[in-house]
C-alpha cells in the first residue's frame, strides 16, 4: 500500500476530490496546512508597510491506495491540481505498512 500526500491550492481541492472520486478512490483526509517551497511565500502591503508571508496556506490531501493504482492516482492529482503557475504544490508518496478498519478489524486492501 502507498500513502499519497498532495499539497494543493485551496481552490483546486474540489477538482482533486471529484477527479479522485471518478477514479474510484473511496476515501481521503484533508488538512489545512501552511508552508513554503522554492518561491518562499509572498509579500503583502498594509498602509505602506510590507510583510513577507513565508508560510503560504495550502490544503493537504491524504489518500491511501493499493500499489497497482499508484500511478493512476498520482496522474489524476497532478492533472486536477495543476495550473502551471508557481505555488501549485507537491505530491509525496510513501510506503505504508498497514491499514486497519476500526469497526471490523479488517486489514490491508480490505480496509481501504
Amino acid at each position: 500500500m502507498k500513502k499519497i500526500e498532495a499539497i494543493v491550492r485551496h481552490y483546486k481541492l474540489e477538482d482533486v476530490k471529484n477527479a479522485l472520486s471518478e477514479q474510484g478512490v473511496s476515501g481521503m483526509t484533508i488538512t489545512e496546512v501552511r508552508g513554503f517551497g522554492r518561491q518562499k511565500g509572498h509579500t503583502e502591503m498594509y498602509r505602506g508597510t510590507e510583510y513577507a508571508v513565508d508560510f503560504v496556506p495550502k490544503v493537504k490531501v491524504e489518500v491511501v491506495i493499493d500499489d497497482d493504482r499508484l500511478q493512476m492516482v498520482v496522474d489524476t492529482i497532478l492533472k486536477a491540481a495543476q495550473t502551471g503557475q508557481i505555488g501549485d504544490g507537491k505530491v509525496f508518496v510513501s510506503e505504508l505498512t498497514e491499514t486497519i478498519r476500526i469497526r471490523t478489524g479488517e486489514t490491508g486492501g480490505e480496509a481501504l
Partner: protein, 486 residues
C-alpha cells in the same frame, strides 16, 4: 369555506374594534373643541410665535440628539471595530475594551467637571466651575415661574450641548489608543486618559470653542481695531481639527515614541487579523461623522446641510484618492487603503466643515488621501511604531485640514466675520490664525503628553512585560479571549 368565512369575520371585527379604539378618543378630543368653539379666542401673535419657537427648538434638538448618538456610535462600534481588526488576534479585546471603557470613564469625568472646565466662564485660558456636577446644565425648579426650567445654549438645551461635546471628549483619547495598541498597560491607559482629558483636551477645547486664546472672534477679525484675547485672530475649527485630531494625533506620536516599538517589530507577523472588522468599522465612522461634523453647527439649518455635504464629499474623495495612490504605486488598490482614505478625508474636512464649499471639499479629501497614505508609509523609515497610524491619519490629516481651512474657507458658507473675507482663495487672511493655532496645538500636545507619560510611568509603568506582550493583552490583562472557537 366556513373556516375562511369565520377567519374573515374575525378579521373584520378586529379592524372595526381597532378603528373604534382610534376614533373614539379622537372624537372625544374633538367634541369639547366643538362645544367650546363659541368661546375659543383667536390665536394671538404671541401664541403663534411661541408655537413656532417650540417647533424650531424641537427640530434643532431632535437633530442634535441624533448627532450625539451618531458621534457615540463612532467610538463603539465604529472605532472599536476599525482598531479591533487592525491588531493581532491576541489583542482584539484589549483595543475594544479601551474604546468601550473610555465611553464610560470620559463620560463620568465630563459630567463631574470636564464640561465646566471646557465651556465654563470667560477666562481665555481655562474654564471655571460654573457647570460643575451639571449645575446650570440640568433642569431646575424656577421659584419665580413655579415651573421646571431648562438652561439653554444657543438654540438647544445646554444638556444637549453638554452631551454632544461629551461625545468628542470620549472619542479623542480613544483615537490615541491606536498608537500604543498591543503594548500599553490598561491601568496606564486609564490614568493617562484621565490626565490627558483633564489637562490637554479640556484646556484646548476651551481655547478654541470656549472663547479662549485660539477662538476665532469674527468681530475682531472684521475690525482689527477691536481688541481680542485670541492669538493671531484665532482658528476656524468647525468640528475639531485642532481640538480633536491634531491634539490626539500628535499625542499619539509622542506615545508611540516614548513607549517604544512593539516586541518583534520589523520581523514578527503583525498584519491586521481581521480587515473585515476594519472595513465595517471605517464605514461606521463615515456614518457617525455626519453627526460629528453636521452636528457641530449645534442646530439644524442651511449650514448643517452644507457641513453634511462637504463631509460626505471629502470622505468619498479620500477613499478614491488613497486607493488610486496604491493602485498607481504598487499595482493594487487595497481595502485597508480605501477604508483609511475615507477616514483621512473625514479628518481633513472636520475643521473646515462649516467653512468650505463642496468642490474644495473634494479637493481636500483627495489631498488628505494621498498625503496620509505617504505619511503612514514613512513610519517604517523613521522607525517609530505608531501601531494603528493614529498620527499618520489624525495628526497629519488634522494638520492638513486646519491649514487648508485657511485656504478654502469662504464667507459664502458661514458669514462669521460680518462680511469680511476668510480664506486665502477669496482674499482673506484667516490662514495666519490657522497656522498659529496648529503650531500651538502641536507644541502644547507634545509637551503635555511627555509630562503626563512620565507621571504615569512613575505611578503605574507604561508597558506590559515581555511575556504579556508575547501572549497577548487579552489573556494577560483581561483574562479573556476574543475567539474561543477558532
Amino acid at each position: 369555506m366556513m373556516a375562511w368565512w369565520t377567519h374573515r369575520r374575525c378579521l373584520f371585527s378586529f379592524l372595526l374594534l381597532a378603528f373604534a379604539a382610534i376614533a373614539v378618543p379622537a372624537f372625544a378630543q374633538d367634541a369639547p373643541a366643538a362645544d367650546e368653539g363659541s368661546t375659543l379666542e383667536s390665536p394671538t401673535l404671541e401664541s403663534l410665535a411661541a408655537g413656532v419657537d417650540e417647533a424650531k427648538l424641537a427640530g434643532h434638538n431632535a437633530w442634535m440628539l441624533t448627532s450625539c448618538a451618531l458621534v457615540l456610535f463612532m467610538t463603539a462600534p465604529g472605532l472599536a471595530m476599525f482598531y479591533g481588526g487592525l491588531v493581532r488576534k491576541k489583542n482584539v479585546l484589549s483595543v475594544m475594551m479601551q474604546c468601550l471603557f473610555l465611553m464610560g470613564l470620559m463620560t463620568v469625568l465630563w459630567s463631574l467637571y470636564g464640561y465646566s472646565l471646557a465651556f465654563g466662564g470667560d477666562n481665555p485660558y481655562i474654564g471655571n466651575g460654573d457647570y460643575l456636577f451639571m449645575n446650570d446644565v440640568q433642569q431646575f425648579w424656577n421659584e419665580e415661574t413655579n415651573s421646571p426650567e431648562t438652561p439653554m445654549e444657543g438654540v438647544i438645551p445646554r444638556l444637549t450641548h453638554m452631551l454632544f461635546q461629551g461625545m468628542f471628549f470620549i472619542i479623542t483619547p480613544a483615537l490615541i489608543c491606536g498608537a500604543f495598541a498591543e503594548r500599553m498597560k490598561f491601568s496606564a491607559m486609564v490614568l493617562f486618559s484621565v490626565l490627558w482629558g483633564t489637562l490637554v483636551y479640556c484646556p484646548l477645547c476651551h481655547w478654541v470653542w470656549g472663547g479662549g486664546i485660539l477662538a476665532f472672534d469674527g468681530k475682531a477679525y472684521a475690525n482689527p481695531d477691536i481688541a481680542t484675547a485670541s492669538w493671531a485672530g484665532g482658528a476656524l475649527d468647525f468640528a475639531g481639527g485642532t481640538v480633536v485630531h491634531i491634539s490626539s494625533g500628535i499625542s499619539a506620536l509622542v506615545c508611540a515614541i516614548m513607549l517604544g516599538r512593539r516586541s518583534g517589530w520589523g520581523h514578527d507577523d503583525m498584519r491586521p487579523h481581521n480587515l473585515t472588522y476594519t472595513a465595517l468599522g471605517a464605514a461606521m465612522l463615515w456614518v457617525g461623522w455626519f453627526g460629528f461634523n453636521a452636528g457641530s453647527e449645534l442646530a439644524s439649518d442651511g449650514l448643517t446641510s452644507s457641513a453634511f455635504a462637504v463631509t460626505h464629499f471629502s470622505a468619498a474623495a479620500g477613499a478614491v484618492a488613497w486607493s488610486l495612490y496604491e493602485w498607481l504605486t504598487r499595482g493594487k488598490p487595497s481595502v485597508l487603503g480605501a477604508a483609511s482614505g475615507a477616514v483621512a478625508g473625514l479628518v481633513c474636512i472636520t475643521p473646515a466643515a462649516g467653512f468650505v464649499q463642496p468642490m474644495p471639499a473634494l479637493a481636500m479629501g483627495a489631498v488628505a488621501g494621498v498625503v496620509c497614505a505617504i505619511a503612514c508609509g514613512m513610519k517604517s523609515k523613521f522607525g517609530y511604531d505608531d501601531a494603528l497610524d493614529a498620527f499618520g491619519v489624525h495628526g497629519v490629516g488634522g494638520t492638513l485640514g486646519a491649514i487648508l481651512t485657511g485656504v478654502f474657507a469662504t464667507r459664502a458658507c458661514w458669514d462669521i466675520a460680518d462680511g469680511a473675507k476668510l480664506g486665502l482663495i477669496e482674499g482673506g487672511s484667516v490662514l495666519k490664525g490657522q497656522i498659529v493655532a496648529t503650531l500651538v496645538t502641536w507644541v502644547f500636545s507634545v509637551v503635555m503628553t511627555v509630562v503626563l507619560l512620565l507621571i504615569v510611568k512613575a505611578i503605574t509603568g507604561l508597558r506590559v512585560d515581555e511575556e504579556t506582550e508575547r501572549r497577548g493583552l487579552d489573556i494577560k490583562e483581561h483574562e479573556e479571549e476574543g475567539y474561543l472557537l477558532l
